[in-house]
């Protein structure tokens, strides 16, 4: 498109120069806010049909213009279009300074320029995706949709719950930021998903590697940074309707958004509703720890669910001050696979459970996440100040029928203050405040500094105990400096100090147990009151080199992570894999050192890159299966204890892509992680949930078919995953597998209305395979079978 435009413009210029008679001319430069030239900016002079495109120095020259009054339109992708009224006589010289556009992402996707710039400034490896990517790769949850990115996998339970995993790191080792504030749910639980509406995501960035420096202690494995703010041109009111369906779990859903802007004020609101049934697996029965469980119509019993989300953003855009106020409420309910919940695999009444595919029976989880955020930004000359304030409440309830085990009474007593079927409840309140200051000192030095504060309070309820109530405070201060040596070389260095305090409450059983030595009834203590304080100094050094088509990155850093309440004080049965988990109150904070490299070579047609890393943990905290059994609470479940050991990990990703034709791009992406415990009980073993090596081959054909069907694409993904033989108890070796996905989509015109259609056929061959990082892998449940996804997006304008 751009090239055609350029060609058109140059022909125009050429033609007009032949016939022009007057001698006036207009020349000048187009620059950005930092006075850097903008190459390839378009200039259009109306009412003449003259125009120009800026050269490598950002210069332009339009000659042979008739005297008179003109409007000069200057545009550049990613920047706000400018119109200047000028009177031209003789030779006029002029400098146009462009303002970076605040992206209106539903229309203009994150531009190449923006992500390119971001990649150049960050010495860690990052992946940036936009809404189009999400539409074309839509999965059961947001994290499932981005699994296609190199180095990213997910930890899943069922079809709607997944957590991000970056190079084998997950749970509390990956920070998810939504609009600048750390998302706080119950990340520690493998069965707990991420409470984020995937339709509301405009831009998503994944930082692979320890980003603790800027994002705090938990970012030891990486960061998923989600932005869903949307800005629009003045006096615009519009919206979009999203309709989606999936065959595998009979999902129906939709999302409606409305947005508008009047001068400095804008709003953006969204409602999402999803409802899905039990999902299908390509097998007639599963074998959970040797217990054979037949499946009705190949459906995983009781994995249906629903989601209802609301969000509103109110914003103000001023010259120097912008503010966004954001409220969201995510509400979901989903069943757990009914046969695999409790102290052992169980029989359920199949007639009841298989009567309907869409009902959600117990065991089930219900999650409500409320979020209120305010983002304010001041820009004063070379200084920009940001404040992010947030409040979150995460209410998580797990329900299951009461089954007495251990010394629990056979009948559930009344007046315990909660209903009999409430297995566990976690009610978390989080307040956070982040302040950042970015200062530009001349052309070469960029300084940024910030303070992060967070207070969490987590209350528990229900009949079963896993972690105690706790509160924790964390405070971090950082300084980062970036020095641009010349146009090729830049350096980064940063320092961060963290302080954290955690307090856990004591907890006693609500039922008496029999003390074998004295043969008396005692109310056993499950956790004791605990106060721990942590502090740490982390640092990082980075280097970026750019020349033409080649870019090199290197980053070395130390990061740390505070142990969480579960690691310190867990003491209960994990009802999903029939184990008994015990914390260790003496754990020290994890310390990790990591070296990251990144090499990219990109031309217009060809690109290749590799991003290796090596990582060393002085003490990695993990759940170690012991040879012991609990004889107090279940029927003798194996005990798993939180332990720490030295861990060495290395691996990386690579990609290669080639434009075979202007309409056809082929590529391959590979990822690989190796981990080994160097000390401790499991010396020589890997880490739990280690993602296997995989290759993803992709071919994408795209073109404009006609004026009615635009942006047509067909893509084929072929994933080749190696077996995972590096396992640690209780895992099993997972065989390698191959899967095919086919995607197809376009924008088409219907009744003068543009409609965007994306379709995807996942697991085309209905292959039965196991995903080593799925939580259900532990109980031998294969991945979902063939799935056909259709997504329709209908944008509309009420007023322009």
């Amino acid at each position: 498109m751009n090239r055609i435009f350029m060609l058109f413009m140059s022909i125009n210029l050429f033609v007009s120069s032949l016939y022009a008679q007057d001698i006036s001319s207009l020349s000048g430069r187009v620059i950005d806010k930092q006075n850097k030239p903008l190459i390839g900016a378009c200039l259009l002079l109306t009412p003449s049909d003259k125009g120009a495109i800026t050269d490598a120095d950002g210069r332009f020259n339009i000659t042979n213009i008739k005297k008179g009054k003109y409007a000069l339109e200057v545009s550049f992708v990613g920047y706000e279009q400018q119109t200047k009224q000028i009177y031209i006589d003789k030779k006029i010289s002029l400098e146009v300074q462009m303002k970076q556009q605040i992206l209106c992402l539903h229309e203009v996707v994150v531009t190449y320029e923006h992500s390119k710039k971001r990649e150049r400034e960050e010495s860690l490896n990052i992946e940036i995706i936009n809404k189009d990517f999400l539409k074309q790769n839509i999965g059961g949850s947001l994290m499932k949709s981005i699994e296609r990115l190199p180095g990213i996998s997910t930890i899943d339970v069922g079809s709607g719950q997944s957590k991000p995993m970056i190079r084998g790191m997950s749970f509390n080792r990956v920070v998810v930021l939504e609009n600048g504030v750390k998302h706080e749910g119950q990340q520690w639980g493998a069965d707990h998903g991420l409470e984020i509406d995937q339709f509301a995501v405009n831009c998503l960035e994944v930082i692979k590697g320890p980003a603790s420096l800027r994002y705090g202690s938990d970012a030891v494995g990486g960061v998923v940074n989600i932005e869903n703010y949307k800005y629009c041109a003045d006096n615009t009111f519009g919206g979009e309707v999203n309709l989606t369906t999936k065959t595998n779990n009979a999902l129906y859903g939709g999302s409606l958004s409305l947005y508008g802007r009047k001068k400095w004020f804008y709003f953006d609101a969204r409602m999402t509703w999803l409802d899905y049934g039990d999902y299908c697996v390509p097998t007639d029965s599963v074998s959970v720890y040797s217990f054979k469980i037949p499946l009705h119509k190949r459906r995983l019993r009781n994995t249906a669910g629903n989601e209802k989300d609301f969000r509103v953003t109110l914003g103000y855009i001023g010259d120097k001050f912008t503010d966004k106020f954001f409220v969201s409420s995510i509400n979901s309910e989903a069943g757990f696979f009914a046969n695999a919940h409790g102290i052992e695999p169980v029989n359920v009444d199949d007639d009841v459970y298989d009567a309907s595919r869409r009902d959600i029976l117990e065991p089930k989880q219900k999650v409500n996440h409320l979020k209120i955020l305010n983002h304010a930004k001041w820009e004063i000359d070379n200084l920009s100040l940001v404040s992010d304030l947030g409040f979150q409440r995460n209410l998580r309830q797990e329900h299951s029928p009461y089954v007495s085990h251990g010394y629990m009474p056979p009948l559930f007593p009344e007046n315990l203050g909660y209903e009999e079927n409430l297995e566990r409840l976690f009610d978390k309140y989080v307040s956070s405040a982040n302040f950042y200051a970015d200062l530009k000192c001349g052309e070469k030095l960029f300084l940024s500094s910030g303070v992060n504060f967070e207070y969490q309070k987590n209350n528990i309820d229900g009949r079963d105990f896993m972690i105690p109530s706790f509160w924790q405070v964390t405070l971090g201060v950082y300084f980062i400096g970036r020095y641009v040596l010349d146009e090729h070389n830049s350096f980064q260095a940063g320092l961060r100090y963290d302080y954290g305090k955690i307090h856990t409450d004591d907890y006693y059983d609500w039922f008496p147990s029999i003390d074998e030595t004295t043969n008396t009834e005692v109310y056993l203590q499950r956790s004791e009151e605990l106060n721990r304080e942590f502090s740490n100094l982390s640092w990082s050094l980075g280097y970026n080199y750019f020349v033409d088509k080649l870019s090199l990155k290197a980053n070395l850093g130390k990061s740390f992570r505070m142990p969480i309440a579960k690691e310190l004080s867990a003491n209960g049965i994990n009802y999903h894999h029939f184990s008994y988990e015990v914390g260790d109150k003496n754990l020290s904070p994890e310390v990790s050192y990591q070296l990251d490299l990144g090499i990219d070579f990109l031309t217009e047609k060809f690109g290749v890159g590799i991003s290796p890393f090596i990582n060393y943990f002085t003490n990695y905290i993990y759940l170690n299966p012991t040879s012991e059994h609990d004889s107090q609470y279940g029927n003798g479940n194996q005990i798993f204890e939180y332990k720490e050991s030295e861990v060495l990990r290395y691996g990386g990703e690579f990609y290669a892509k080639y434009m075979v034709l202007p309409t056809l791009e082929c590529g391959v992406v590979g990822e690989f992680v190796y981990s080994e415990q160097m000390t401790g009980d499991k010396k020589g073993f890997s880490l739990p949930f280690s993602p296997p090596a995989s290759l993803l081959f992709n071919a994408k054909y795209k073109r404009h078919l006609c004026s009615l069907i635009r942006n047509f694409y067909v893509q084929v993904d072929y994933r080749l995953t190696a077996s995972q033989k590096n396992i640690v108890p209780p895992e099993e070796i997972t065989d390698g597998y191959q899967t095919f996905n086919i995607g197809l989509g376009c924008d088409f015109e219907f009744n003068k209305q543009t409609i965007n259609l994306s379709m995807m056929l996942q697991n085309v061959l209905d292959t039965k395979y196991f995903n080593h990082t799925s939580f259900y892998r532990l109980i031998n449940v294969p991945e979902a079978g063939r799935n056909f996804v259709v997504n329709l997006l209908i944008p509309f304008k009420i007023k322009k």
């Binding site: 040879s627 279940g634 003798g636 690579f654 391959v668 080994e676 020589g684 033989k725 590096n726």
Partner: protein, 161 residues
């Protein structure tokens, strides 16, 4: 050019795929109930107050850890067994004073094989009266030194005589 890339990818992948460790234990222990005189067996009836034999053979490639025996009622038929033959269950009923048993037993260090044989006897009742008759689930869990585990679930009936 493309061929070279493709070839090197295959090499990388095969290297990766073959990069497995051989020196760590990846085998689960085994519970062998097919030995002569193994007890209890699926669908067996055990009587309160009367001794019965527990006999099983435990095996591991490296070293055994411990085992546990757990008994809990199956009056609502929620449990099923790891055995192929299912047993006839009594009608579903509510528990009044169900029998509960859960105990861990250690195995001598560094043993690869252990034939366990001892007598068990369950009390007829407690201070609340007689334990409930009916379907129970007899659950054996075995671990090895490295934390691998094996489970066996048997359906039995516990009755008074």
């Amino acid at each position: 050019m493309k061929k070279t890339i493709f070839l090197s990818l295959i090499i990388v992948l095969s290297f990766v795929a073959c990069n497995e460790k051989n020196d760590v234990d990846t085998q689960k222990p085994q519970i062998d109930m097919t030995i002569d005189g193994a007890s209890p067996l699926n669908c067996q009836t055990i009587y309160y107050g009367e001794p019965f034999k527990f006999k099983a053979l435990f095996k591991d490639n490296d070293a055994l850890g411990s085992y546990s025996i757990g008994l809990h009622n199956n009056f609502d038929n929620h449990s099923h067994t790891t055995e192929i033959n299912e047993c006839a269950h009594d009608a579903i009923k509510d528990a009044v004073n169900p029998f509960i048993f859960s105990k861990e037993y250690m195995i001598d260090k560094d043993k690869k094989e252990s034939l366990v044989e001892f007598e068990m006897c369950f009390d007829k009742g407690n201070d609340k009266g007689n334990f409930d008759d009916g379907d129970y689930h007899f659950f054996i869990s075995l671990t090895d030194k490295n934390g691998w585990s094996q489970k066996k679930g048997l359906s039995i009936k516990l009755l008074h005589r």
